[in-house]
Symmetry: C2
Subunit: 186 residues, 2 copies
């Protein structure tokens, strides 16, 4: 697997992943009907840094190990499959710009292989390299157990709880967490 800065050639692959995640509607507070244009504008909005995770097509054996991916997530390099994408950016402008925010999306069919953790570690490293002093997630939905466990394992703490702040498509109103970790002396 390789994680690298995204280019314009990755836009189709990113949109495919974005669309899949947003349509599921259980991990992000985003309009499930968001347009491709709005989604990519959000994901690439300056001063956002955008990355993709890709794997060798050969490493998955048959393309149908990841159903639909061979066609649904074309990449700039036909030997690669784009399996995830993340962004890192200042969480606030001005006096809050030393704190990074990040967001991650991974195609469902590639889960359970450590790709999420690899992207998270890459992101922390990039945020540190870019000079951020801390990282904050503003909106971690409390039912997203896998993500919360990963962030806690990587040193994030729940620093705030927003009661009933997300309307889950199956579970109704659920809490949302704010998570935070320092990047100083990392």
């Amino acid at each position: 697997m390789k994680i690298r800065p995204a280019t314009d050639a990755d836009r189709d692959a990113i949109w495919n992943i974005f669309r899949e995640i947003v349509a599921a509607g259980d991990t992000y507070a985003l309009d499930p009907a968001i347009s491709r244009e709005d989604a990519l504008a959000y994901w690439f909005a300056p001063p956002t840094h955008t990355y993709v995770a890709e794997i060798d097509r050969g490493s998955v054996g048959e393309a149908d190990s990841f159903p639909g991916m061979a066609s649904s997530s074309p990449t700039a390099n036909p030997n690669h499959l784009t399996v995830g994408t993340y962004i890192v950016r200042p969480n606030q402008p001005g006096g809050g710009s030393h704190v990074a925010n990040a967001a991650f999306m991974m195609t469902t069919s590639a889960r359970g292989q450590g790709i999420g953790r690899a992207m998270a570690e890459h992101c922390l490293s990039e945020a540190h390299r870019l000079g951020f002093r801390a990282m904050q997630f503003n909106y971690v939905i409390s039912t997203n157990i896998a993500a919360i466990r990963l962030w806690q394992d990587l040193g994030f703490e729940i620093v705030g709880t927003l009661p009933d702040a997300f309307r889950h498509p199956d579970k109704g109103f659920v809490d949302v967490y704010v998570m935070y970790r320092s990047l100083i002396d990392k």
Copy 2:
């Protein structure tokens, strides 16, 4: 004092207040050098609801009771002075859109007269009317004591603390609070 929805005729007055608040740099994480265009785009961005608070020019006796305001904050009605502005909007799209976010700005020279509280109460009423179930402030700087006291007095609780998340122009890195209150059964 009157609080009412803002119109295009209020843009100059809003920009004057916005510029004053952002230049001080101690209450908002916004670029102090933000342009008029970007500031007004932010303050009026759909689906934001924007309001202004204005007072009778006569009620302040001499115009110089509020130094600079007679010229710096012209309003659509020359008998009025615009002393504050606030916005209310969904804090998140999609599954988070039932929670309101709000932001307030008031010209320094009009403080201590209950205008902030009147705007806050108006805002809570409007958010309730618009169907929001809760209101969240994402970024209340811990040194902004007057604001914190007002929100607590109006039923908000500190539900999260972001360590050192704001670089204060005089005090260095200071904590930031996330504040929240329900609007159900209000």
